[in-house]
Amino acid sequence: MRSVLRTVAAAGALLLALLAPASAFEVERVISPGGIEAWLIRDQKIPILSVQFAFEGGAVADPKGKEGLANLVSTLLDEGAGPLDSQEFQRRIADAGITLGFSASSDAFFGNLKTLVETEDEAVELLRLALTAPRFDAEAVERMKQAVGSQIRRDQGDPDTIVRQAFYAHAFPDSPYGRRARGTLESVAAIGAEDLRGFVRDRLAKANLKIGVTGDITPERLGGLLDRVFGGLPAQAAPLEIGEVVPSTAGETLVVERPTAQSIVLMGQPGLKRRDPDWFAASLMNYVLGGGSFSSRLMNEIREKRGLTYGVYSYLLPFENTALMMASGSTANPNAGAMIGLLREEWRRMAEQGPTQEELDDAKTYLTGSFPLQFTGTDRIAEVLLQVQRDDLGIDYLDRRDALIQAVTLDDVRRVARELLQPGKLMTVVVGRPEGLQGATVIQHGS
C-alpha cells in the first residue's frame, strides 16, 4: 500500500478543480399563464416530481399569546379540505403514494409535494385543496392540538430542546425570535378555528411565495400545474413588520439544572445574514473553526486530542431579521468547564489570528467540492432551488457560487473573523449539572 498512498496524500493537497457539477443542470425560470413563477430543473430519469415551496412569514407572525399558530396550521392543512374530511384526505394521499407535508420555521411556512408522474393529477388536486380550502374541522383541530401538546411535553424533557429554548429566550427577550415555534401548552390551547383561518388568509398569498421544482415535467405542463395549485391564492399577504433585532448576548453563562448524564452546551453571539457581502468569508472561517466536522479546530482540540465530546460544532444561523453565530457540544458534567473554556479559547484565537492559508485553501476545496453532493434526489434539488430564491441569490447562482468562494482572500477572512467573532459577547447556556463553571447564573426554565 505504501507507494499508492504517497500519491493519495499528494492528491489531497491539490486544489480541487471539479467539473462544477451543479452547472450540469439547467435551471429554467417558468412563469405560468397566470403569472406564477417557479424555478425548474428537469430530470427525466425517474418518473417522479418534487415541488418545494415557501411563503415568507412563519412563526414570527404568530400573535402574542397564540404562539404555535403557524406550526398548528402546518399540521392541519392535510387534515381535511374541500369536500374531503380528514380520513378521506389521508386515505387518498396514502393510496396514491403521495408525500405531502407542511412545516413552519420562524421566517417561513413551507410545503413539499413528491409524487409519481402517474399520480400527478391527484397530487395537484389534493395540494390545491389543502392550500385553498382547508376545513379545520373541530375534530381534527382538537386531535392535532393534542398531538402538538404531546410534542411540547416531549420537548420539556429533551435537553437539546431546552438549551435552545433557553438560549433564544435570552438572546431575543422582546422579539418574536425569542418565542417557541411550537408554542406552549397554554398558547396552543388558546388558538381557535378563526386564528387558523386567519393565518391561511393572511399568509398564504402569491406575492410572498417561492417555488422550486425538480423532476419529470416540461415547463408547459408545470405552468398549468402552478395555476391549478396556486392560482386560487390571494395576490398579497397581510403586511408583516418584524423589525431588525440584534441578539442580546453579553458574555453571560446561564445554567438550567437538569439531572442529565451530560452538560449540553449552546453558545452564541450576533452573526451575519445570508445577504451579507461577507457571507462566504464568514462561512470559510466557520468551516475552519467548527463547521468542518473532523477537520475543524474545535473537533481537533476538544474531541480528537482530549476525548471530551462526541461532537462539537460551530455554525452560522441567519434569519430574515437577525443572525447568530453559534457553537454547540455536550460533555460529561465534570468536564463542562473545561470544554467551555476550550471553546472560548478557540473563538478568541480565531478572532485574533484568523485561519492559516492552508486552512483557508482546505475550506475552499470543501465548500466548493461538497456542494454537488446534495444534488442526489429530486426533493433535495428542489429544496436548493427554493433556498436560492428565498436568499435572492439569482438564477445563475449555481454557476457563480464556486467563483464567489474562490475570490475570498485570506485578508478577507481575517478581517471578518476579527469583526465578527466577539468572545466577550458569547452567551453560554448549559443544561445539566455542569461543574467547573465560573460566574454562572442558574435560571429557571419552565413549560
Partner: protein, 504 residues
Amino acid sequence: MRPVKPIPTLAALMFLAAAPAGAQAPPSPAPAPPGQPAPAQASATAQQGVFFPEIFTLQNGMQVVVVTNRRVPVVTHMVWYRTGAADEPRGRSGIAHFLEHLMFKATDELAAGEFSRIVARNGGRDNAFTSWDYTAYFQNVARDRLELVMKMEADRMADLRLTDEVVLPEREVIIEERRQRTENSPSDKLSEQLQAALFVHHPYGTPVIGWESEMRKLDREAAEAFYRTWYAPNNAILVVAGDVDAAELKPLAERYYGAIPARPVPARVRVEEPVLTAERRVILRDAEVRQPSLRRLYQAPSYRAGAKEHAYALQVLSEILGGGATSRLHRALVLDQRLAVGAGSGYSPTAVDLGIFGLYLTPVPAVDLDRLEAAMDAEIAKLLKEGVTAEEVETAKLRMQREAIFARDSLQGPAQTLGAALATGGTAEEVEQWPARIGAVTPDQVMAAARFLLTQTGFATGILLPAEGSAVAGAPRPGTAASAGGAASPAAPSAAGAAQGAVR
C-alpha cells in the same frame, strides 16, 4: 418539525435508535437498520426490479455491487463488513463500534485523522456506522475522486496501525457518545433495556454501543483482535452508487481491493435465542419524562432466521396494522376512540438472526397506559378473529410497491439497502424481487403471519412514565411558566451547521 403525524416505519427508527451506535460523528447519515428497509426496498408498480445493480466478485472473494445513477457526477463509495456487535466476544460489548471509530486513525501510510481530512480536502464527506450485523464505511465524493477513496479504504482494510496514544482518548469519545445517544434520554434508555429484555440470550439484546462497564475496559488489543478476525476482503462488500458503471469500476476494484489477500474468516456462530413464553414488562420512571408512552416488541422471523416464510407477509401486516394515518391502529386508537395521539407499528426483516416486530403508542393526556394497551389488544384480537380484507391487503401492497420508485430517487439509499441485504446473507436478486414478492402476498398469508406473530405470549412491553409523585405531565411548574425560553430556531444545532454550508 412535523413529528405529530404517524410515521409508517417506526420499527426502522426503533432499531436505529438503539442500534447503529455508529457513526464516527454525530451528523451521521441515517444508517440502515438491521431490518426493515421497507420504504427503501419497495418497488415500482409495473416494473421488474428496483435498483438494477451490476454485481461481480473479485478473485479474493470480495463482492462488488454497482448502482449506476448519472444524475450528477458524484458517487457514494461504501465498504460493508459482515461483522457487527452481535459478533463480539462476550464481555467486550462495544468493540465492533469502537473499532469503527479507530479505523479513522493511522495506517502504515496515513496519520491519525488524515483519512477524513483528505476526504474533506477533496470536497467529500465520510462517515461510518455499526449495527449488530454489519459495519460500514462510506465516502460521498465527486466521481473523479473515487479512485482516491478506494485507495484509502483498501489501505485501512489491511494496514491499520493503532497506538494507545490515539486509542485511549477515543475510548472517552465513545463513552461520551453513549451518554449523548442513550443516557441523556429516558426514552432511549428504555429502548435499550427493553431490547435486552426481548432477547435474553442472543447478542441482539446487547446494545451496539456497548454496556458502559465493559466499554471502559476496551483496549487496543481487543480492537486489533476484532480487526484481524473479521476485516478481510472475503468478508467485505463494496457498494458504489452514482456516476459510474461496472465496466469503469472493475479495474479500480481489482487494483485496490483485489490486491489484498483473502484470509480465513470464522463463521458467524451466534447462540440461539430460546423460546420464551413469559411476557416481560420493562418500566422506566424518570423525572424528565413529561410524555408517557408504550411500546411492545415481538421476536419475529427475518429473511434469514425463524419462520422465514412469513417475512414478506409480516411487512404487509405491519403496513395494515400500523403503517401511517390510514392504518388500523391509527384509525381505532387515534381517530375513533381518541385514546392516543400516535399509534403505529414497524417490522425489520433484514437481519442475520431474528427480527423485531414493534407496536408503538403515545396516549392523550389523562388516558392511562393500561387502558390504551387494552384497546390495542382489542384491535389485535379483532384482527385475529375477523381477519383482514382483500381490499386492505391490495391497497397496502400497492402503496408499498409505489415506494420503490421513490427509493431510486437517492444516491445513498439504494447503496444502503443493497449493502445491508448482502451483509446479512441476502442477495441483490432478493432486493430486486421485493416488489414481486410483496405483490404475491395473499390475505391468507397475512393472517397466517399475524397468528404466528401475535399469539406469542413471550413479548416484551416497555412503559415510559414520569417519576412517581412528580407533577402531572404537562402542568406548568410553579413560577416558571410564561417567561421561560423559546426556540424559534428552524433547525437543530449540528444539523443547522451542516445545512448552512451545504445548501447555501
